[in-house]
């Protein structure tokens, strides 16, 4: 079989079979204008909004039934027992579970670090989100106009996020003791075609961020009340920050479903993998607890580009050219 020709044929076949929904022109214009309004802190000329509303009135009917293009779920929702008690999660149907109890509304995702969870209700805004902040499953705050984040500090004392915009905006640090804003910093958020900013925040409120993925030209640290300072090292090799408790790890850290462990792939000596190198060891550690770190030899050759994926709170599969199953309880990997 000619794999490359088959690939071309199948991609074209799949693409031709995909039924695209109607173009949501009015929604796109509104979202973009909203972001621009927030960015520039100016009042948008009413004529633009009126024009957008007129366009919206014309095309809104075309969006009815848009959901019908989405196929039904193809696999069952994760079992509630999959998650540790107290870790909120969102299933594939968009239901938020807290202590395994379904909550009202439709949700897109929930991200938990320690006691805190950012849960995101579904909305029609393609640019920004609203994040409901939970502490141990109880709602304590709401953050709107979130362009990226919020991220929580390892000790659960601060959170930080970027407000809505594309190229300029604000970086906000909020104290989780009184939910007051510690400080705000105007920031440039990237160039056209550029991408999401990255972000991490420490317990003293110091923020590290990078807004020009994947280059390392603009990495900054900023402590509220002070000026931003350039830093040489990006949060991680590819610019994406690792979860709280794994700062300094240059490989991609994967959190277990209950967020009790993080795992990453290394070479034989525990170091960074070369681009053409397959993993030799799986390193596992609890967030913020380097003393808990241990490594497991990876039996089998999964090859370059392998990723570690948690299948349960204690088991992972390393997926590459082949698959290797690892158990952090028995500390063994088998192909």
């Amino acid at each position: 079989m000619n794999v490359e020709q088959t690939l071309t044929d199948e991609l074209r076949h799949v693409a031709a079979s995909v039924e695209a929904p109607p173009p949501p022109i009015a929604g796109l214009v509104r979202a973009a204008e909203r972001a621009r309004t927030r960015t520039l802190r100016t009042r948008l000329a009413g004529t633009v909004l009126v024009a957008a509303a007129v366009v919206g009135a014309i095309v809104i009917g075309t969006q009815v039934g848009r959901q019908s293009t989405a196929p039904p779920p193809t696999n069952p929702s994760p079992s509630p027992s999959y998650y540790a008690s107290g870790v909120p999660y969102v299933d594939r149907e968009g239901t938020l579970y807290i202590d395994h109890q379904p909550q009202p509304g439709q949700w897109s995702r929930a991200v938990t670090v320690g006691e805190y969870t950012a849960a995101f209700p579904r909305d029609d805004d393609p640019l920004t989100d609203t994040a409901v902040i939970l502490r141990n499953g109880v709602e304590v705050d709401t953050v709107s106009d979130v362009f990226h984040g919020p991220e929580f500090s390892p000790g659960g004392t601060k959170m930080a996020w970027f407000t809505a915009t594309l190229y300029t905006g604000e970086l906000v640090v909020r104290d989780l003791a009184d939910f007051g804003d510690v400080d705000r910093l105007p920031v440039e958020l990237g160039s056209p075609g550029g991408t999401q900013p990255v972000l991490r925040v420490e317990d003293d409120g110091t923020v590290f961020y990078n807004t020009h993925y994947p280059t390392d030209e603009l990495n900054w640290s900023w402590k509220p009340g002070g000026a931003k300072v350039r830093v040489a090292t990006p949060p991680r090799e590819d610019g994406i920050p690792n979860p709280a408790g794994f700062q300094g790890i240059r490989a991609m850290v994967h959190l277990s479903p209950d967020h009790l462990w993080g795992a990453w792939l290394t070479d034989r000596d525990g170091g960074k993998l070369a681009p053409d190198e397959g993993p030799s060891r799986l390193t596992v550690q609890k967030p913020g607890e380097p003393d808990s770190r241990f490594t497991i030899p990876v039996a089998g050759a999964t090859g370059p580009g392998s990723v570690a994926i948690w299948d349960s709170p204690t088991r992972l599969t390393i997926v590459g050219d082949s698959e290797v199953a690892c158990d952090i309880v028995t500390r063994q990997c088998r192909d």
């Binding site: 796109l28 973009a32 190229y167 991408t195 999401q196």
Partner: protein
């Protein structure tokens, strides 16, 4: 129909004209990248919002399609990558494409395995084998060298071939 070969446009299209002419093609490319409708819609919308924000640059570019394609690809590579990988893993086999479910499933021997590729590999595969871009064009989109494009494409094809061989072994 890939983005670069879709409906003709005037020399300086308005945003609305561009979206109207290119939306379906953009959506299909987004679908190939993400493997499901929900993420494809998010990705296509995010791309076009970003395009609106810099519309004068888009429409003034030598190739507006190339500009938008770059926005699309970078948005895909940077957004929620770990979540996307884990979600795909939960799916276990093929992405939730209606194609595999409603058409001749046996013909699609590689598509079910594309979700196992890394996002960067998948982007290179889609740009090269669907969008029919040259290595230099892909390098421009991704902001990397042609050597990186070659090695990424080679790794992706090798991985797909390996998975295909494994699958055929299981069937026999």
């Amino acid at each position: 129909m890939a983005l670069g070969s879709s409906l003709p446009l005037s020399a300086t299209p308005t945003y609305e004209e561009y979206v109207g002419a290119r939306w379906a093609a953009l959506y299909r490319t987004a679908y190939l990248l993400t493997g499901n409708h929900a993420d494809a819609e998010d990705l296509a919308q995010t791309t076009m919002v970003k395009a609106y924000q810099s519309w004068s640059k888009v429409v003034g570019a030598e190739s507006p399609d190339a500009y938008v394609r770059r926005i699309l690809t970078n948005a895909f590579l940077s957004s929620r990558r770990p979540l996307r990988i884990s979600r795909e893993r939960l799916v276990d086999e093929a992405p939730d494409t209606p194609v595999a479910a409603s058409h001749d499933h046996d013909r699609l021997v590689l598509w079910p395995h594309i979700s196992s590729l890394s996002p960067r590999q998948r982007a290179v595969v889609v740009l090269r084998y669907y969008e029919d871009l040259s290595e230099q064009q892909i390098a421009d989109v991704l902001g990397c060298s042609t050597g990186t494009v070659k090695s990424t494409a080679s790794d992706a094809v090798r991985a797909l071939r390996s998975r295909l061989t494994a699958t055929e072994g299981d069937r026999s």
